[in-house]
């Protein structure tokens, strides 16, 4: 009988015949418990005629810039920043103490260079041409392999995810090739490609390819079917559906794939450079080992870490820029 009781509660006069947006607004604003989840200023909700917003001309002054910068410095962010500093410092502290006291209990810090030695290495070798060229070459290889992987894995993943027949055709190959680690491709790759450079890029590509492909497929599968149906009902043809519904709907998963793929690409690249390279950060590190140049080994390792961090940072930033809606998604970033 609750339905009957409900029927009696109704007491909102709605104008009849001609619709009156103001009245509807009033009634919905005042009589329903609807509240937007994100802050929405009530003032905005006043019945506004079409296109009546005043044009706000943004004026740039030092004050406004400073204010907008300060607005982003919240207590929460300061705490995260401080914790991040603590975590990095702890790492350096262990390193410093271990090398200072020549810690030796099963693991041996005897030959490990001190932070100061590595810093010296950085100032001497580090800013030399050779070191920077090595970095540039590694980054170039990573980007080439990674972008080729994106260009192939994302469209293929969308098609495999969408069409069962494409899936049947490609998945057996994918399932066989996927467990082979990129490092195991090194000998084959050297045989296969005309030069070393192409071989290394290929190995980087292999490393990035599978995480991107599988996450893209997963993205299509986890896309709510009602959105695809809604797209069709609104008149989208197959191509429009891909571009306007399936791609943006899978984008969060694609970016997960990009982040994972970038990590694996670095692992693969460094391994390839160590085995067959003539340049690159991996080669730099391996060469240092053969020359018994311990500080350079550490420098190479740290360089790889920083470059990897920078790459995943860039991916995350691009993700935030491309998917602003995720900030409001349930269980999203915030």
């Amino acid at each position: 009988m609750s339905n009957m009781a409900r029927a009696k509660v109704v007491a909102i006069p709605i104008p009849t015949g001609q619709i009156d947006p103001e009245r509807i607004l009033e009634s919905t604003m005042t009589s329903t418990p609807e509240k937007p989840q994100a802050p929405v200023t009530e003032g905005q909700a006043a019945p506004a005629p079409v296109a009546a917003e005043p044009e706000v001309v943004p004026t740039l002054s030092f004050r406004t810039v400073a204010r907008s910068l300060f607005k982003h410095i919240t207590r929460d962010r300061i705490i995260s920043f401080l914790l991040g500093c603590i975590s990095i410092s702890a790492l350096f502290l262990v390193w410093y103490l271990g090398t200072k006291y020549r810690f030796e209990f099963y693991i041996r810090f005897k030959n490990v260079p001190t932070p100061a030695e590595v810093f010296n290495q950085l100032t001497q070798v580090g800013l030399s041409n050779k070191y920077l060229v090595n970095i540039a070459i590694s980054v170039k290889r990573i980007l080439t392999g990674f972008f080729i992987a994106i260009a192939i894995a994302v469209p293929l993943g969308l098609l495999i995810g969408k069409y069962e027949r494409v899936r049947d055709l490609f998945m057996p190959c994918v399932e066989i090739l996927r467990p082979i680690p990129a490092i195991a491709w090194v000998p084959m790759s050297i045989m296969l490609w005309p030069n070393n450079e192409a071989a290394i890029v290929f190995i980087t590509f292999i490393g990035a390819f599978f995480p991107i492909l599988l996450n893209t497929i997963h993205g299509v599968h986890s896309l709510d079917g009602v959105l695809v149906r809604a797209g069709r009902c609104l008149g989208a043809n197959e191509a429009q559906l891909f571009w306007n519904v399936i791609l943006p709907g899978s984008l969060p998963h694609i970016f997960t794939g990009l982040a994972v793929g970038m990590g694996v690409a670095w692992v693969s690249l460094i391994a390839a450079e160590m085995i067959s390279g003539q340049f690159g950060v991996g080669y730099f590190t391996w060469e240092a080992y053969s020359l018994v140049d311990y500080p350079a080994i550490m420098l190479g390792m740290i360089t790889i870490g920083v470059l990897g961090l920078a790459c995943s940072g860039v991916i995350r930033m691009v993700g935030v820029l491309l998917m602003p809606w995720l900030a409001y998604a349930p269980g999203g970033r915030r």
Binding site: K8, A11, P21, R229
Partner: protein, 292 residues
């Protein structure tokens, strides 16, 4: 404006469902979801389809929308056989189906964009529709920033943006709380009166179907058939006060009786399995509960 006038003016939007049968599965797994159903919606008419859960009412709507092909029979829109989804039929889903990556306005513009309408025209249309839904000030918000009632209002105007001839609504207010629901029903009747569009509305809420419709089809439990067709003689425009009139109450009682029989029939196997035959029901050999 009377319903008759609306009919006269909206010459198109005639849904004709003829002897539809839908069967899922094969051989011993075969399930007859809908059996020989014929319904129609006259141009500009508001028709509800009501029945116990699992009776195939959503399947029927999916056929008209073009998602499901019937095993038997055909569904026609203005004499043309429906074979696939299209923007001549606006659909409002039970689940929120706004694209979370598009702003509210871009969501409303979606159908027009697909049709290749230029940006200025899209903007004007979307804004006037959002104004109609009372949500113009939220045009740049993302759907996840809005409440359920707001999302469904946008879902309705988004479906209307391409000027379809019919609007198909699959329990659009099912996920909303009671108060929001009541307001949504009024907003919908107002929008309907402005657009004079044919509506096929699916619900399991009896009051809702009476308040909104010109005509109500009651479906039986699976396999779904049409059990009754009831005209709602209440005058237009409908007001919330009408829900207190004896006329309205009588309709509610009549429909409740019809639905109750079917709900019991739908649940009968389970009731029999659990030995709950003491609820004033006779349990027959097939487990079909009979009333008192």
């Amino acid at each position: 404006m009377s319903v008759a006038e609306a009919h006269a003016e909206a010459a198109r939007g005639f849904i004709d469902v003829r002897n539809i049968g839908v069967t899922f599965g094969r051989d011993e797994n075969e399930v007859v979801a809908v059996k020989e159903v014929s319904i129609n919606v006259q141009p500009g008419e508001f028709v509800s389809l009501i029945g116990p859960s699992g009776c195939g009412k959503s399947t029927l709507l999916s056929i008209v929308a073009g998602f499901v092909k019937p095993t038997k029979g055909a569904a026609l829109l203005d004499g043309k056989k429906i074979t696939k989804p299209g923007s001549d039929r606006g659909v409002v889903f039970q689940q929120y189906s706004l694209f979370p990556w598009l702003s509210v306005r871009k969501n409303v513009e979606f159908g027009l964009k697909m049709a290749g309408v230029d940006q200025n025209k899209r903007l004007t249309t979307a804004r006037s529709l959002l104004d109609l839904a009372g949500l113009l000030s939220f045009e740049n918000h993302y759907p996840d920033q809005l409440s359920g009632g707001m999302k469904q209002r946008i879902g309705i105007v988004r479906a209307l943006a391409t000027s379809p001839q019919v609007l198909l609504m699959d329990e659009p207010f099912g996920a909303l709380d009671t108060q929001t629901r009541v307001v949504m029903q009024e907003i919908l009747t107002n929008i309907w009166q402005q657009f004079r569009i044919s509506v096929l509305f699916i619900t399991h809420d009896i009051e809702e179907s009476i308040f909104l419709s010109d005509r109500i089809y009651v479906m039986t439990a699976r396999p779904g058939r049409i059990k009754a067709e009831i005209k709602v003689p209440l005058p237009r425009p409908r007001t919330p006060e009408m829900t207190d009139t004896p006329e309205f109450m009588n309709l509610v009682q009549e429909l409740k009786g019809l639905i109750r029989e079917e709900s019991l029939a739908a649940m009968a196997p389970e009731i029999k399995d659990r030995g709950l035959s003491g609820f004033g029901m006779k349990v027959g050999p097939k487990g079909v509960g009979e009333l008192y």
